[in-house]
């Protein structure tokens, strides 16, 4: 217990975090690339075609991981926002800000691949159903956090405003997740289930799980790299950073 608290306290220290995240990214990079390569090869070439959709279903290997991690990433951003508001830890502001653009890109990928998938299967690029519309709101929430932060001159005030916005937006995540069950929608219900048997055959499921794992790592790595870039900027004149980077 004491060790865990000591670790959490160390995370808040920029010099320590800069070193730690550097090591973490060096390990994350090869593992992420490997998982992406294995998942893509398995899903696109090895997995069998679907009995109704043929090969067009294979876009699931990008669409679902992007959407799943876009939702999970929002919680990462919201928890960082809550920590920033309650404990006033600067590193939480950096984390919240770093998660927003990554989440926005993943949400955009989910929306675009969904449209590309929708045309051949449903017959339409875009339908204003609950799932798709709530996902579009998620994109605007992510972009809103990015924009709101830039709108303030005072960065402490900016972080506070962004944290409140992210916390208000958390209600959208269960809405997106349950939208296909609560309302009549064109989007089908979830194939992946936390409990019970999934509605997707095992031969197609395993590569999907590999891709979801790969996207989680991709999110973590991108967020850490964003945080490191922000720390580099914030502490550009600090002695510890100059020493670490060997510049005088």
């Amino acid at each position: 217990m004491r060790g865990m608290w000591a670790f959490i306290h160390k995370l808040g220290s920029p010099p320590w975090f800069f070193g730690f995240s550097g090591t973490l990214v060096r390990w994350l990079l090869p593992v992420t690339v490997l998982l992406l390569a294995v998942g893509a090869y398995w899903g696109l070439l090895v997995a069998p075609p679907d009995f109704r959709q043929g090969n067009s279903y294979r876009i699931i290997y990008i669409h679902v991981p992007a959407a799943v991690v876009a939702l999970a990433g929002y919680y990462v951003m919201a928890i960082a926002g809550a920590i920033s508001l309650i404990w006033r830890i600067k590193m939480a502001d950096v984390a919240m800000r770093a998660a927003a653009p990554v989440g926005a890109v993943l949400t955009a990928v989910a929306l675009v691949t969904g449209a590309i998938w929708g045309k051949p299967t449903w017959g339409a690029w875009w339908v204003w159903d609950a799932r798709i519309t709530s996902m579009l709101i998620l994109l605007f929430l992510y972009l809103g956090v990015v924009a709101l932060f830039e709108a303030y001159e005072n960065k402490t005030a900016a972080a506070k405003a962004c944290a409140v916005l992210t916390l208000v937006g958390t209600v959208n995540i269960p809405i997106i997740y349950k939208s296909v069950d609560w309302w009549y929608s064109l989007h089908q219900p979830a194939s992946l289930k936390f409990t019970g048997e999934s509605a997707i055959d095992a031969s197609m499921l395993y590569p999907l799980l590999v891709m979801i794992g790969a996207f989680y790592l991709l999110f973590a790595m991108s967020m850490l790299l964003n945080m490191r870039a922000e720390l580099l900027w914030q502490h550009r004149n600090a002695h510890w950073l100059r020493q670490r980077l060997d510049v005088s």
Partner: protein, 150 residues
């Protein structure tokens, strides 16, 4: 916990709970607008408006598809296993359109209660499986739809 932090924790929790409640109530009040389509039972019961464009969603009734010989006109029935409504559509149907499969049609109801559709979308389900598995299941669950052929 420090009293100031405790107070901020309570405040943050209140922001989340109250904003969720507000948005939840709004979504509940607007549920009829959030629903993408009316099920056939509500259309048959006269709950759907007849003077404007609506969407109707359900399963295509087996054996109900009638195609015109020389035009693109198609007539079929959709059901939610409580009531059925006829749909008339002139145009190209999506690839996944088939008997026993879900669809969502957009159009207006005429005096006979037939939906004159301007768009028909296929609503596929959440099941994914290889063609061999589907063929093995054929014995248990009848499926009239044409299977995928490579």
């Amino acid at each position: 916990m420090h009293p100031a932090r405790k107070q901020r924790l309570i405040l943050v929790s209140l922001v989340v709970v109250l904003s969720s409640t507000a948005i939840g109530l709004a979504a509940y009040a607007l549920r009829d607008n959030i629903n993408l389509f009316y099920p056939p039972a509500e259309v048959a019961a006269g709950k759907a408006p007849i003077d404007r464009t609506i969407r109707l969603g359900g399963m295509v009734v087996e054996g109900s598809i009638e195609r015109s010989r020389d035009e693109l006109d198609t007539t079929f029935w959709v059901t939610d296993y409580k009531a059925s409504v006829a749909i008339r559509y002139s145009g190209i149907l999506p690839d996944l359109f088939a008997e026993g499969e879900g669809i969502v049609a957009e159009g207006r109801l005429d005096e006979q209660g037939v939906l004159i559709a301007t768009q028909v979308l296929a609503k596929h389900d959440e099941n994914y499986m290889p063609p061999e598995v589907a063929a093995a299941l054929e014995g248990n669950t009848p499926r009239s739809a044409a299977p995928y052929q490579p």
